[in-house]
């Protein structure tokens, strides 16, 4: 019976809805108008009714009436109002409206001269555009729209509120920023910051925050803007006053943060140090909403990322480091029992809170050893990072690994807390299967964990990391290739023969040489570094050169012949010097006249670093007390090396002249 009743009820509802739609088709315009007005009253706050009307096709008819120039202004306005009301419903409603091409129709409506109608259209557009389901690009398809919106800004407080709200939601990319900037967004919106309407002020402020984000051009312009005789930065500072609404303080702080990061404001400017930073720290405190705390922490992390002085100040402001520990206590055990609604709310924000805290810790600890110590000493910090590394949320994992990476720059922490908490385990796990951005951070952290003084190095080696790192070097992402080869380089430093052989075997010479021709200089440098670390201590040199000598010599030749930076050539010459230090490996150079000519050339190079490296190489070749040293000395003398060495003893660089003298002594012995 109940089912029957319900169906009957539903049928009746649909019937009344149909009646509303039918009235839109009445031949009498007066009756149509009344129908639209009745419809307006029927849909307010009634999502079901809204959905019904959409299903029954009310939208195209309303749009038709709205666009018809024969419709009265009143009717067109009421249509826009009803459409605005429909848009206030569910996301599905918005989708249906957008599918019916409501946006171009409403934008067309803005060309009217009737302010009330324009406001109704803008209101509806605003509601549609702030929905996440609406593609923001639709605002930019017609190039005349933005300039027209700019011109409407002066019309009324409502147009100002709606238009700035549309802008702040539809400015998502640098291109959008540029379009708005080029159409005078700054000059048009700046005066609105002192509007009598709070809503207008707030939306204008939001516009500036999205416009300035990572945009140097906008930020540089903003610092010189005057609003009613006052610098914009000062207007923002006033908006951060502690009696202003939190939303306003936070958004003003964001504006100044973005301007600072875009180098438009110095980091030691008092409006950053004494106003923005303390304001953002305050936003992290427990008395604020969870959303505000997340946003505050993220913005603060972004603000101080590049500046150690700001990090130091923040670390002692209002117990920030301890305050952040609270971010991990959601949902709290209390909320779970007492209040389901609160639990739901907490759960929703728990991930966001944790990732924001990790980000802020990462930023705080990125330079200063004392701050890192303070962070690791915060209650359960390392445990939290370890569990953060294996959370389901990508965002949390990424932030946790960023935090770990920041702390891994501390020699002391690597030696103590990192080892105590075996952070390498979850880190290795994270590396098995993760998106690139996580991999970059994780592998970068691994590089630090593989430094020779790190006690975690041994267990990591045993966990089969070499294969993993070798696979990273084959990645399409230059950052991952760098980290992979960098970690291998660190691993090879003063390593056992066994490890070195394993690296070479696993990486394969082919891959090694591919990396030596990598377009990314960083990759090339680290690969050379790896080679250099592999080719250290005589037995290792001889062993590796005996199996891969030919290819290595080839690669060295190629690099020395190609266009490369001084650093790359220096590193290459150092490898050559290492080869020259081997017992049998020496011959690979001595028998290669071309290579000897190259060394000679670099001894006479204008760069001292290269001269030094080349001289090192010669010095190793002619070293006494080694088999065949006499022959080598003779050969090199014949080739004119001695003359060059004599010349180099006169060098103004003390290192170089010393090195040359030492080399010449080999001939005297």
């Amino acid at each position: 019976i109940f089912v029957q009743l319900e169906t009957k009820f539903r049928r009746e509802v649909t019937a009344t809805s149909r009646h509303y739609v039918d009235r839109l088709f009445d031949p009498d315009p007066q009756k149509v108008l009344q129908g639209v007005i009745d419809m307006k009253n029927a849909v307010i706050g009634n999502n079901k009714q809204k959905a019904n009307l959409i299903v029954l096709g009310a939208v195209p008819r309303l749009l038709y009436l709205l666009q018809q120039s024969s419709s009265s202004m009143e009717l067109r306005t009421e249509c826009a109002v009803v459409l605005g009301s429909l848009a206030m419903g569910t996301e599905n409603n918005i989708k249906s409206l957008v599918d019916c091409h409501i946006i171009p129709a409403l934008l067309q409506g803005l060309l009217s001269s009737d302010l009330i109608f324009i406001e109704a259209c803008l209101r509806c557009l605003r509601t549609v555009f702030i929905s996440p389901v609406t593609p923001v690009q639709l605002l930019y398809t017609d190039p005349t729209v933005i300039p027209h919106l700019m011109s409407l800004l002066s019309n009324s407080l409502r147009t100002q509120e709606y238009i700035t709200q549309i802008f702040s939601h539809c400015c998502k990319t640098p291109e959008h920023q540029t379009i708005l900037f080029n159409h005078g967004a700054i000059q048009n919106i700046a005066p609105l910051l002192i509007s009598p309407s709070y809503k207008v002020r707030m939306q204008a402020l939001k516009c500036f925050s999205v416009l300035a984000y990572e945009n140097t051009q906008v930020s540089m312009t903003l610092v010189n803007v005057l609003v009613d005789g006052e610098l914009l930065t000062q207007v923002f500072v006033k908006m951060m006053q502690r009696d202003q609404p939190i939303e306003m303080q936070l958004t003003a702080a964001k504006c100044l943060t973005y301007m600072c990061r875009a180098s438009a404001i110095r980091t030691d400017d008092s409006c950053i140090v004494l106003k923005t930073l303390p304001c953002l720290v305050r936003m992290c405190s427990k008395e604020h909403l969870l959303e505000e705390r997340v946003e505050g922490a993220e913005t603060l992390a972004y603000l101080m990322e590049p500046d150690v002085e700001l990090q130091r100040i923040a670390s002692t402001t209002d117990h920030l480091v301890a305050m952040l520990a609270d971010y991990f206590k959601y949902p709290s055990s209390v909320s779970a029992i007492t209040d389901i609604k609160r639990l739901d709310h907490d759960l929703k924000h728990a991930h966001e809170l944790r990732q924001a805290a990790f980000k802020l810790y990462a930023s705080l600890g990125s330079n200063d050893e004392d701050i890192r110590k303070k962070i690791t000493e915060t209650e359960n910090m390392m445990d939290r990072i370890v569990s953060g590394l294996s959370e389901s949320s990508i965002k949390v994992r990424l932030a946790a690994v960023r935090c770990l990476h920041s702390l891994s720059r501390s020699v002391q922490q690597l030696r103590t807390s990192f080892h105590d908490h075996a952070v390498w385990k979850p880190l290795m796990k994270l590396l098995q299967n993760a998106p690139d951005e996580v991999l970059v951070m994780a592998s970068s952290t691994l590089c630090n964990l593989l430094l020779e003084f790190s006690p975690s190095k041994e267990p990591i080696l045993e966990s089969g990391v070499i294969e993993l790192l070798c696979s990273l070097t084959q990645s399409d992402s230059p950052a991952l290739r760098v980290n992979g080869i960098w970690a291998l380089m660190n691993m090879a430093f003063q390593a056992d023969q066994k490890v070195k052989v394993e690296i070479v075997r696993c990486l394969g010479t082919e891959q090694l040489f591919r990396l030596l021709s990598d377009p990314d200089t960083n990759v090339l440098m680290k690969t050379l570094g790896l080679l250099r670390n592999l080719l250290s201590t005589r037995p290792h040199i001889d062993q590796i050169m005996s199996s891969h000598g030919k290819q290595i010599m080839q690669a060295v030749t190629l690099i020395l012949e190609a266009e490369h930076s001084i650093e790359v050539k220096e590193q290459t010459l150092c490898i050559l010097a290492n080869i020259a230090d081997g017992n049998t490996a020496k011959d690979l150079i001595m028998t290669n006249d071309d290579m000897l000519q190259k060394i000679k050339y670099y001894m006479g190079h204008s760069n001292v670093k290269l001269q030094l490296a080349a001289t090192f190489c010669v010095s190793n070749l002619i070293w006494n007390e080694e088999d065949g040293s006499q022959e080598r000395q003779d050969k090199l003398r014949e080739m004119g090396f001695v003359d060059i060495l004599h010349k180099l003893t006169q060098s103004s660089d003390p290192n170089l002249s010393d090195r040359a003298k030492t080399a010449l002594q080999q001939y005297l012995a």
Partner: protein, 623 residues
């Protein structure tokens, strides 16, 4: 010899210079303290302004006006620690209190503590110090430079903030609303250090090793930390708390109570038309006969327009015996009459050919805290008078352009017209308190629509009058409707603002009349003294009034404030209250009483240590 004397001269000039600089600093200090702590009554609870030379341990030396502290003991053991307290404890009415200490030198070890302590704490330690052993004093709180720890009534510290040393500025903020304390370092808040603080703490510093020198800033200089911003936050919090005070289901009761208060206020100040309209639209009974209200209104208007002679006469007519029973009141009225004669506004001298200098007659439009309502005198249409003050408000600004700027001056210092609201004490023994014009107009604007239409009509009418008589202003425009003799009227119109004000309006006859009246007053005063004994208030009143004659231009003399129209207000409200009392009506309206009580409550909160009183000034709610 000559060198010596010139040296002496030089020294002297330095001293003089130093004094003036010192005065500047003093002035700045007073200004800043008033701005930061407006709710503090320094007669009751003085603010700390320097370290106390009496309340210190002997190892402490003070200099630079007792703002600089240095250590002069040997500083060998923690027992050698020494502290000094400020001259006064922190008053609760500060709401939020703040001082800063600059480290001039960290000395040998930098064992410096900055903080708070209660009276009676042993000065032989740093504020909660630390370096002393167990058995530590109660109610002593400090933040120590050497380790950055905070110490709260115990010898063991808690990790709190960074260390501090030479060149750092450390601030200490006491929140007397939630009884917490936080420190700042170089303008950055370090977070809460202490909670549950007891009341009446003194700013305190402690030093322990030789060479340690610190300077205090109790408001002598701008603070490094933006304490005013912090105070703004708390003011907003407290005000939000008041605004959101839950009324619950008693909303209806509240509304009718407020309506009653508004109605009684209107009646009290004889806004009879408004009162009638208000009572009608809110369905209330008026507890005084309309005729009676109008009578009072008439008298008040006479007083406020300076026509004291007529006012006294009318009072005697309408309320026989009232003035006979109140000789002091009569005396006060007569003194005022004398002043108005000097002014040239009293009817007696006016008709002797004197002119009324317009600037004196104009009614200042600037709102003042709690002064009496304004009434326009010269209208012959009594039923309109309820709106008169409104019209007047609308026009005075016009008029001020043509009249002397004098008329817009706020009430001069020392005048009686802005008695502090606390004078409406609960025991009712003090003089009554009139209500502000500011709030009266606010009431007017809340009239129902039909009413304000009426007002508009009337305003239009008056505006026409004003435009006809051009820039001469409202008074001239409406004076056409008055019953005054035509010659006076004409005179007034001819005379424009540029004419210099003259004694008694410049008429010789008027001057003679005034002098004669003065003699009468003198004898009345003597008579009063014989009858009722000495009355210093009366004596001073008379002396001040007579002093006017000692100056060739009384308006610009030190006692010239008496001639200001504002001075009519207290006279007017005293008379009004006296009349009301004879009718067994309250001599002050319940609204004023409520305001007075709120002010008393705040004063009581200040005395009992509730810091939130700092941010709940009654004036903030009298827009």
């Amino acid at each position: 010899m000559s060198g010596q004397s010139s040296g002496g001269g030089f020294l002297m000039s330095v001293v003089v210079h130093g004094d003036s600089a010192l005065n500047e600093q003093e002035k700045e200090l007073n200004q800043r303290l008033r701005r930061l702590y407006p709710a503090v009554n320094e007669n009751e609870t003085p603010l700390p302004r320097s370290w106390s030379p009496k309340d210190k341990f002997s190892y402490i030396g003070l200099s630079q006006n007792n703002l600089r502290v240095h250590y002069k003991g040997h500083g060998k053991t923690p027992k050698d620690a020494a502290s000094v307290r400020a001259t006064h404890p922190i008053p609760a009415a500060c709401g939020v209190y703040y001082f800063e200490v600059k480290i001039i030198s960290k000395g040998r070890d930098g064992y410096m503590g900055i903080g708070l302590s209660a009276q009676g704490v042993n000065m032989n330690r740093l504020p909660d110090i630390t370096f002393a052993k167990a058995g530590w004093d109660k109610h002593s709180y400090g933040y120590h430079g050497d380790d950055g720890h905070s110490f709260c009534s115990s010898g063991t510290g808690q990790p709190y903030g960074p260390t501090f040393t030479t060149g750092d500025v450390i601030g200490c903020c006491v929140n007397l609303i939630n009884n917490t304390c936080f420190y700042t370092k170089n303008g950055h808040s370090l977070g809460i250090a202490f909670t549950d603080l007891p009341p009446n703490l003194y700013p305190t510093v402690g030093l322990q090793t030789p060479g340690e020198v610190v300077d205090a800033n109790f408001g002598q200089h701008p603070f490094v930390f933006d304490i005013e911003d912090y105070m703004r936050e708390w003011r907003t919090k407290i005000q939000a708390q008041i605004d959101r005070f839950p009324i619950g289901e008693r909303e209806g009761e509240w509304q009718s109570m407020i309506q009653k208060m508004v109605a009684s206020y209107l009646v009290h100040h004889s806004y009879c038309a408004t009162a009638e309209a208000f009572a009608k639209s809110t369905d209330q009974a008026v507890h005084e006969e309309l005729a009676s209200i109008k009578n009072r209104q008439k008298i008040q208007k006479l007083v406020l327009s300076g026509r004291m002679g007529e006012a006294i006469e009318t009072t005697q007519q309408l309320y026989p015996n009232l003035l006979e029973r109140n000789p002091d009141l009569l005396f006060m009225l007569k003194v005022r009459q004398f002043i108005e004669m000097v002014n040239g506004t009293d009817s007696e001298v006016r008709c002797l050919g004197g002119r009324s200098p317009k600037s004196q007659d104009s009614y200042p439009g600037s709102p003042r805290p709690f002064s009496s309502p304004s009434h326009k005198a010269s209208s012959s249409q009594p039923y309109l008078t309820g709106f008169d003050s409104n019209c007047c408000n609308g026009v005075t600004s016009n008029k001020s352009h043509s009249s002397s700027p004098h008329s817009h001056k706020p009430c001069p210092p020392g005048s009686g017209s802005t008695l502090p609201a606390s004078d409406i004490s609960l025991n009712g023994s003090r003089s009554q308190q009139p209500i502000t014009r500011g709030s009266s107009t606010a009431v007017m604007s809340k009239l129902p629509a039909s009413q304000s239409n009426d007002v508009d009509m009337e305003v239009d009418h008056f505006t026409n009058g004003v435009t006809e008589s051009s820039s001469n202003g409202f008074l001239n425009g409406t004076s056409k409707h008055t019953t005054e003799p035509d010659d006076c009227d004409a005179d007034m119109e001819v005379e424009s603002a540029q004419s210099k004000r003259q004694l008694c309006g410049g008429s010789q006859a008027a001057i003679e009349r005034m002098i004669h009246f003065g003699r009468e007053l003198q004898s009345m005063s003597e008579h009063l003294r014989r009858e009722c004994g000495k009355n210093s208030a009366n004596k001073k009143m008379l002396k001040d009034a007579f002093s006017l004659l000692a100056y060739s231009d009384p308006w610009n003399s030190p006692v010239g404030y008496q001639l200001d129209a504002i001075q009519r207000e207290p006279v007017c409200s005293t008379l009004n209250s006296a009349i009301l009392e004879t009718h067994n009506l309250p001599k002050q309206p319940p609204l004023a009483q409520a305001v007075g009580q709120a002010a008393q409550c705040l004063a009581m909160m200040a005395r009992t240590g509730s810091g939130s009183c700092a941010f709940a000034s009654v004036d903030d709610y009298l827009h």
